[in-house]
């Protein structure tokens, strides 16, 4: 299964890159992400995913490679869902300027699932994965847009996240979208310049989370 997508984000590439490496941003954008911890050249993550009748907790590791700030990287991850099986995959994420101060995020991902997940879900996985990818990147984009607005805006987003722990992906993305809508013009100059390692880690986590979601199907 191969999935790809493209998201215009009204923020400069460096800001988007920072977001891709910010564990908090990523964690908030991954529905069901319980834990995202830096671990050597990658992250370990725990994601609880529920799709239809199948619910499982996936534990796994994500590694980053081909790191090219602020243009993109490759992430690969693998998660074990216990008796439900496993999911693994990778994604290439590429950022480019849209010529109007914004960024185009493109990704191509592939995911493999095994065990019970594959047995009952191989035919459904693609549609589910696509939706999860959409949910994640739209939440991520909204968070990026919201982030540099001002302290209040960011706090507001964080508060929403904090108030609703374990919130479902859709809810999270709606909150993010609402937050984004409140910010009329994202000030491009207020990037905070997060450390690339953090960005990378975050991105990896995001992609991993997406893949996990896919796998849960």
């Amino acid at each position: 299964m191969d999935i790809s997508g493209e998201y215009p984000i009204p923020a400069p590439r460096t800001v988007v890159w920072a977001g891709l490496n910010d564990p908090d941003v990523l964690k908030n954008a991954i529905a069901g992400c319980e834990q995202l911890v830096r671990d050597g050249d990658g992250f370990t993550a725990t994601v609880v995913a529920k799709v239809g009748p199948v619910k499982a907790k996936f534990g796994g590791r994500i590694t980053l490679s081909d790191i090219d700030p602020p243009n993109g990287y490759t992430i690969t991850g693998e998660g074990q869902g216990g008796a439900a099986g496993f999911a693994k995959g990778g994604a290439k994420v590429a950022l480019s300027d849209d010529g109007e101060g914004g960024t185009i995020l493109k990704y191509t991902a592939d995911a493999q699932i095994g065990g019970k997940l594959a047995q009952i879900g191989s035919r459904l996985i693609e549609g589910t994965a696509r939706k999860m990818a959409d949910d994640f990147f739209s939440a991520f984009a909204a968070a990026i847009v919201a982030q540099p607005a001002n302290g209040a805006g960011a706090a507001s987003l964080e508060m929403q996240g904090a108030e609703a722990p374990g919130v479902e992906a859709v809810a999270a993305s709606e909150a993010a979208a609402a937050a984004a809508a409140r910010i009329a013009t994202p000030p491009a100059s207020t990037q905070k310049g997060l450390h690339p390692a953090i960005w990378i880690t975050g991105l990896v986590a995001v992609v991993g989370g997406v893949l996990y979601f896919f796998a849960q199907r």
Binding site: G115, A118, I120, S122
Partner: protein, 796 residues
């Protein structure tokens, strides 16, 4: 044996099945219905990978979960592996490669669903929850799935000892003679075929309850088996080293098997072994998803076949090369399916004088493959009947005429084939003629033309088949590698008041033995049908048995019962002679009455039975009291059912959907005891054959080895609207070497039908230029074939 008795319950009558009341009212007792005091529940953690090393298994957290009684892994299992029951030798004389098959993997998993850990808890929910907490570290390895590619360079290796994944490389027949015949052939027809893998899908998933009794040291296994004595033998002697007198195996009501419940499965050994470890009964019940990953699957042959014909269309030689997929392990009878149950039937119903077949068996990272309804004969029949059909098209000889020209004539029996078997009887012209008539062959073109007006492509297909069943003469199969005898045991116990219990070593799981055998006994002993009870499936009740498979129950098991009844009648005659003060030689027995020749003296069967148990007036110095006899019957040959199947299909060229609109099955199955049960058996078999031809396919991801058709969303079982009303008839010649004359009917439907369906599909598609299609001929495949044939035509 007597001919049809003409009564409502005797031989040849169709009384309603005795077993149906309990089945239709939900009162059957299946393995999962059995609950033992203090019972625990087992959940088996299965591999999500097709091929991987087990680096580490951490069960510490899982063991602390609520309700957990024990968790075992391969390191804990200290008993033997599951054995294979048939040994094949390769061309060079070397024995096949037999890899170990432990119930829990020691260090490597070899297919998705391979058994990694056994979790035993107070409830199945707790067992499942605990299994979630087992942390297994795998190191993934490349997997091989493809049957055709498994022996090629670069394929992942499943077993270190099996070079190029080859289990054995076997052959049969006279290669030099075949080569010589091909050299002078007028025409050679060549065909590549895939007989795809199928999942058996019995209605009742497998289950097993192990129960160890500390007080007596006895083990009891309740299991979904077609042959409890075979399980006792294999598991007791080879796996767990439990002597027979301390091991009881019970196969209660079983909801279908189709071969998949013949084999000794490792779950049976696990629950039995674990019940002693945890000192409590252990129950395991498969769910449907698990069945797809753990029930032995069927077929999976890739073949190339060549048929040489002379200028008159006579077959002068046949050459076949087959690769058979064994899966990751050797299941109980797997090696004999593509060899002695398959290649030995390559003569079919034809006089082909020389035949040479090579069969290579390969290991792959897939679920084990073994016998499934027909076991080897559907594969051979499909190959032959597709090949003959193609030869007819290529030579321009009418396809029915070509078959007739090559039939073994009725007068030629017993007929020795060039591939070991000797057919005892048959009349292929007769079954063909009847089928052509019933199937409306002569006026088919009218129906084709009518369908064309409606925009439909209509086709008709035929298959004239033979199979070997009544498995099997022990000495013969022993010389071919079987590690067991294949006789059957029957015990007839006449009770003091004249009712009868029959104990049979065969097992009924849909076949209706309780009815058929009761008819046989009622008719023979002259006791009412209602007074006969048939008991089966418990090693503590039945003296011995080899079970039910290979359409053997009536031909072999029924013959054993007949032999036991012969003994009963012989003894009863002596008692009757004593009662009537006559010579034994003057006693006749008919319709339940003993008479003295030339007199009006008579005593009933019931009087004799009572005398045997209340021997006040009894020849006690010459004869023991009681009236109970046991017989073992070992057949002298296989039986050879055969016949003609005709299928008619209509294809919608817009959608590729194939509808089977007519199906006619005319089978020669020897003596028929219950025509209704025969019809039901043929119906079921034909539906499975249509399933293989049009719908079913067990698909694995070629790269990862993941099973892609692991549920009914993806594995297409035939449904009622996929099959027409099936016309069934029998035209019987008697089996010449068993006392009943019966040949067997359990598998004929699944054997004769797939090529009839595919030949019909190809007949329908001929006008649009399609000449080949593989099973299953799904709408997708048919539509694509139509499109690419159309493009090829346009390009001309």
């Amino acid at each position: 044996m007597a001919a049809d008795s003409g009564t409502a319950t005797g031989i040849g009558a169709s009384p309603k099945r005795k077993e149906d009341f309990r089945f239709l009212t939900g009162r059957g007792t299946y393995t999962d219905d059995i609950n033992r005091p203090g019972q625990t529940y087992a959940y088996i953690l299965r591999s999500p990978h097709a091929h991987a090393e087990i680096v580490k298994i951490d069960t510490a957290k899982a063991k602390g979960m609520p309700g957990v009684a024990a968790i075992f892994t391969g390191a804990d299992y200290d008993k033997g592996g599951v054995p294979c029951g048939w040994q094949i030798h390769s061309k060079d004389g070397s024995p096949m490669i037999e890899p170990p098959h432990f119930p829990l993997c020691k260090d490597r998993v070899r297919h998705v669903g391979d058994q990694v850990a056994l979790v035993i808890a107070n409830s199945i929910a707790e067992a499942r929850d605990a299994a979630e907490e087992i942390d297994v570290t795998y190191k993934e390895l490349p997997a091989i799935v493809s049957t055709g590619a498994a022996d090629k360079a670069g394929a992942a290796q499943v077993w270190p000892d099996a070079k190029n994944n080859t289990c054995f490389d076997w052959h049969i027949g006279d290669k030099a003679a075949v080569d010589a015949a091909f050299a002078k052939a007028h025409h050679v027809t060549k065909l590549d075929l895939i007989n795809q893998r199928l999942a058996p899908n019995a209605m009742e998933p497998r289950a097993a309850v192990g129960d160890y009794d500390r007080a007596t040291g006895e083990y009891t296994l309740y299991t979904t088996s077609q042959n409890p004595h075979v399980i006792r033998l294999l598991m007791g002697a080879f796996v767990l080293q439990i002597p027979e007198h301390k091991l009881r195996v019970v196969a209660p009501d079983v909801g279908g098997g189709f071969g998949s419940k013949i084999f000794h499965y490792s779950e049976e050994a696990l629950v039995t072994w674990a019940s002693e470890k945890v000192r409590r009964p252990v129950k395991w019940t498969s769910d449907r998803s698990e069945a797809f990953l753990s029930d032995a699957q069927g077929r999976d042959h890739v073949s190339h076949a060549e048929l040489a014909l002379d200028k008159d269309g006579k077959f002068i030689a046949l050459r076949v090369n087959t690769i058979a997929n064994m899966g990751a392990y050797l299941s109980t009878f797997a090696p004999c399916v593509p060899t002695y149950l398959s290649a030995t039937l390559l003569a079919g119903v034809y006089t082909t004088p020389v035949i040479y077949a090579e069969v290579k068996a390969v290991f792959t990272n897939t679920v084990a493959v073994d016998a499934y309804r027909g076991a080897g004969r559907p594969e051979t029949t499909y190959l032959l009947e597709r090949l003959v059909e193609k030869a007819a098209r290529e030579t321009g000889i009418d396809r029915v005429e070509l078959r007739r020209r090559n039939f073994i004539p009725k007068t030629a029996f017993p007929y020795q084939t060039p591939v070991a078997l000797q057919y005892d009887s048959g009349d292929y012209e007769a079954t063909l003629d009847l089928a052509l008539k019933m199937g409306g062959w002569a006026d088919f073109e009218n129906r084709r033309a009518e369908a064309q007006k409606r925009g439909k492509l209509r086709g008709i297909g035929i298959s004239t088949y033979i199979e070997a069943c009544g498995i099997a003469p022990s000495a013969v199969v022993g010389s071919l590698g079987a590690r067991a005898g294949l006789y059957e045991c029957g015990q007839v116990r006449v009770h003091p008041t004249g009712s009868v219990t029959v104990f049979t070593g065969t097992h009924s799981h849909g076949q209706g033995h309780e009815t058929t055998f009761a008819q046989l006994v009622s008719d023979t002993l002259g006791v009412p049908f209602e007074s006969v009870e048939v008991s089966h499936g418990d090693t503590n009740k039945i003296p011995f048995g080899m079970g039910t498979y290979g359409s053997r129950s009536l031909a072999v098991g029924g013959s054993a019962i007949v032999k036991a009844m012969d003994k009963i009648i012989a003894k009863a005659k002596r008692i009757a002679a004593h009662l009537m003060e006559a010579s034994v030689a003057d006693i006749d027995f008919k319709n339940g009455e003993f008479t003295v020749k030339g007199t009006d003296k008579k005593v009933s069967f019931g009087q004799v039975a009572l005398t045997a148990y209340v021997p006040h007036n009894y020849p006690i110095t010459e004869l023991e009291p009681g009236l109970e006899e046991t017989a073992f019957y070992d057949p002298l040959n296989f039986t050879y059912p055969g016949g003609t199947h005709i299928c008619e299909v209509e294809i919608d060229p817009e959608t590729g959907v194939t509808q089977v609109v007519n199906f006619t099955a005319v089978d020669d199955i020897g003596r028929v005891i219950n025509p209704m049960i025969v019809e039901g058996q043929v119906h079921g078999g034909v539906v499975q054959g249509i399933g293989q031809a049009l719908l079913e396919n067990c698909a694995y991801d070629q790269e990862t080895g993941q099973l892609l058709t692991g549920s009914y969303m993806d594995y297409t079982m035939p449904r009622a609207d996929d099959v027409p009303s099936i016309k069934v008839a029998t035209h019987s010649t008697m089996c010449t070497h068993n006392p009943l004359g019966s040949k067997g009917v359990g598998e004929v439907g699944a054997i004769g039908s797939p090529p009839a369906v595919i030949n019909a599909v190809l007949d329908a598609l001929r006008p649009v230029g399609v000449t080949d299609i593989s099973m299953p001929a799904t709408p997708h495949k048919v539509w694509q074939a139509i499109q690419s044939a159309g493009k090829a035509k346009a390009a001309e």
